[in-house]
Symmetry: C2
Subunit: 496 residues, 2 copies
């Protein structure tokens, strides 16, 4: 046997593409997820927490001709007493596990099954700035019903959710489209079966927001010079073939009835197109009955949604307010959630088609938006710090902390080396503490404590003139038995 070498000192590093979250970053996310869970639950959805680990087989990422799962997931092979076993992997989203769970437990679950799930997912991708290999998703799906009422409900719930977490009406829009309408357009173009051409057209539609009607027309036909002067190859359609796409993309009208008229023009005689329009009409009617107007949810034929597995309605929530990007340019915040109907995911397991529809909220993007708007309610105010003037009287300080905590005040005693009092105040500063409590031997003898308003102290240190300083002392001496009352008074003053 090889000799065991002494291991070198390990590096203290997160693996590439992973990060840690500290303090308010964690609690803000937790609070937001709580609020979202509240709305989902209110709508009748039930929580589901599936295991983070799935078989690669169940995830559907397994390539049958190679020994190793493809890239994109973190995967490993089970070892079972010298025998290699099944490949397992970390989930890469919450939809694939839902399909597995529903197929596995369908006899015990209610049908339709409304479920919500929130938690981390993992992607084995090249990390980049701001792109991490572990991030949160927050999904709600309804499995087992083809009714458009399920899709309409999820759009309404998405609207309610955004308002509940702090995005006011007017700052967001849920936009709804239907893959069948697009398929109808492709059918009348004669591209019903040409997958490559279909994909090219869908990709072009997705650029409508950026390049406009004329740009899309060029991209669908002969190609286009972009702003940088580079030539982008066209899809190669004739002008006539491109016409239904243009009609489709420009079909949105101020009046939803007129939008539907335009769409009917775009899909012509296609029956799948007509079916898609009818589905959108049902959704619009149901949302109207629920009181969700076009200021919250609108039919918008330019929404594509990338994922190949959508089969009917697709929807997307966009934040409509402007922010400045990293280059200082104004731009819209963009999409924070999206989803749609997918009817074939459960079929992979059972052979039977099970209709389903659902939404996924991009938790980190939504948090960034709330931060941008100053709408995060949790604060990063630290605890009251009871300083240690005399290390032999730790029990006295401990008693003070207990009193403060019992009175509902977040508090702690300084636990570092108490020798250097300056370090204690630096610690309180690093903790963002609002108040420090001081009791030296002299104060102890006189039955008093010193209470320091650290927020006011910092303000005075920064800006106040000597006159103001005299008028508003930031340190108070109070009888020991008024400790809790005075600390509370200061905290309440700071909160105003």
């Amino acid at each position: 046997m090889a000799k065991v070498k002494k291991a070198p000192r390990p590096k203290a590093e997160t693996p590439k593409g992973f990060r840690d979250y500290f303090g308010a970053e964690v609690t803000e996310r937790t609070h937001m997820l709580q609020k979202i869970a509240g709305v989902y639950h209110h709508y009748g959805f039930e929580a589901l927490e599936s295991s983070a680990v799935e078989t690669v087989e169940a995830l559907g990422k397994f390539l049958p001709d190679v020994d190793r799962p493809n890239e994109g997931v973190f995967a490993w092979q089970e070892f079972d007493e010298n025998d290699k076993g099944a490949w397992m992997a970390l989930r890469y989203d919450l939809t694939a596990p839902l399909a597995r769970v529903y197929a596995q437990h369908r006899n015990e679950l209610p049908t339709p099954y409304r479920r919500f799930a929130m938690g981390p997912v993992w992607r084995n991708e090249k990390p980049g700035p701001g792109r991490f290999r572990q991030f949160y998703q927050c999904d709600a799906d309804t499995v087992g019903t083809a009714s458009m009422a399920a899709d309409a409900e999820i759009c309404a719930m998405l609207s309610d959710t955004l308002e509940t977490v702090g995005i006011p009406r007017g700052d967001y829009l849920v936009r709804v489209n239907n893959r069948k309408v697009m398929n109808g357009v492709l059918e009348v173009m004669g591209l019903g079966d040409d997958q490559a051409a279909r994909d090219n057209v869908l990709r072009t539609i997705d650029k409508f927001d950026k390049v406009g009607e004329a740009g899309v027309r060029e991209l669908l036909t002969k190609g286009r010079l972009d702003a940088s002067g580079a030539f982008i190859d066209g899809v190669g359609l004739s002008e006539d073939q491109a016409e239904p796409v243009i009609a489709f993309l420009t079909s949105k009208a101020a009046d939803v009835a007129k939008t539907f008229d335009n769409l009917r023009g775009a899909v012509g005689t296609s029956s799948v197109g007509a079916e898609g329009i009818s589905e959108l009409e049902q959704i619009a009617e149901l949302l109207d009955a629920g009181g969700y107007g076009a200021d919250r949810i609108e039919i918008d034929p330019s929404i594509v949604r990338g994922l190949g597995y959508y089969t009917g309605p697709v929807y997307e929530a966009e934040l409509t307010f402007e922010i400045f990007d990293e280059k200082g340019r104004k731009r819209q915040f963009g999409s924070v959630a999206g989803g749609g109907r997918y009817d074939d995911l459960v079929k992979r397991f059972t052979g039977q088609a099970v209709p389903a529809t659902g939404v996924s909220i991009g938790v980190d993007r939504l948090l960034a938006a709330l931060r941008e708007k100053g709408r995060l309610t949790s604060t990063s105010v630290g605890p009251v710090v009871v300083t240690v003037m005399d290390r032999d009287r730790m029990a006295d300080y401990q008693a003070m902390v207990s009193e403060l905590r019992n009175a509902g005040i977040r508090a702690e005693v300084y636990l570092g080396n108490p020798k250097n009092f300056g370090n204690q105040l630096k610690y309180a500063d690093k903790r963002n503490s609002p108040v420090a409590v001081i009791e030296g031997g002299d104060e102890k003898d006189r039955g008093v404590v010193q209470i320091k308003d650290l927020i006011l102290g910092a303000q005075i240190a920064e800006s106040a003139t000597l006159e103001e300083w005299k008028e508003r002392p930031s340190q108070f001496e109070v009888p020991r038995d008024q400790l809790v009352a005075k600390v509370r008074e200061i905290l309440e003053g700071q909160a105003d």
Copy 2:
């Protein structure tokens, strides 16, 4: 190249040793974790969420002489454009990641650093009944202080936490011991350097609860016949050598001062033993100052705690009420949390010893205890179900659901195939719905709705006589505009 075969239909199964959590299982745990986080935060601890994935090197499970990490963790090797890269693994606890995080970020973090963390951890072990390979932990640790005030604080916080989640005083006990006292005992026994003998003695001490004083004496010396008639080999000590262990184990007295006297007798001249006793005395004094009496936290020399990395105080929270085990025998519920001081974990990374102490709560055991005591506040009451009598009037039902939701009532419309009304009531039953709403064409014409009290209905179906049935109808017809008021009245009645 090998031909790509058509993949067989995947099995819908959780990987071996993993499970899914549904509905109330998820929300009950979430609520409990929220409450625990609240107490930890109140004590000045800050949230930390480290990545679920760590380098195997940082986790400290890497064997340098083999190509593959040892068992116990789920690990895989990074692939970086055909080059094999670092081994990565899922965290197996929350302490190893804390050591890595502290070593990595120590210049930005306050010292001492109080942090709490909660989340799943993964163990690559053979699964067994009730033993899963993914489970939750909920930890609080203070890093960077050798002060016994940190240990005392965590014991006090553990006591507060148990009461906050619903374990009343008297139903639990936090017991505190110190490794140094045990080391002192081993030293006076002449086993200071004999690791194997020390481990044997510690293992024997751990059996004190079961076999008592005479049993431990036999196990330390010549061996013992157990209840089943099997002979258990002894450690092989002489009667004299065993004496300090017995003195140590039986040192607990009704009066804590007397306990300390007994411990002083047991460690004799050992200086590490004396240091351990002094540390326990400091903890006892601080807890006393905080108002934590022996009804909540006590010094108990029989606590061992398995983990090898503890270096000073160790503590454990035990639930003291009795339950019936799977064989119908009465037994104490046992331990739900434990921890202690570990001074060497950060040193692995930095070379400098960083004193630390912390506790881990076994979330699933604590949940099981609360369930046992009927103390889980979240209920599994389902939503109000608005049934569908006429599928063309989905918008009418949608409007009802919106009204109910806007009034703060959890509600949903039935989204399955509405053809068979019996299936709709079965669905409501499966969902544990308290109320069903019914509006057929006739009701619609008369401007009324039917409201069915499903809880009362079930009670009547089960037990009531015809007379009672007549007196308390479980179905009511009310004007449409009284829908919300009547549903609320029924829900309030059910909650009483």
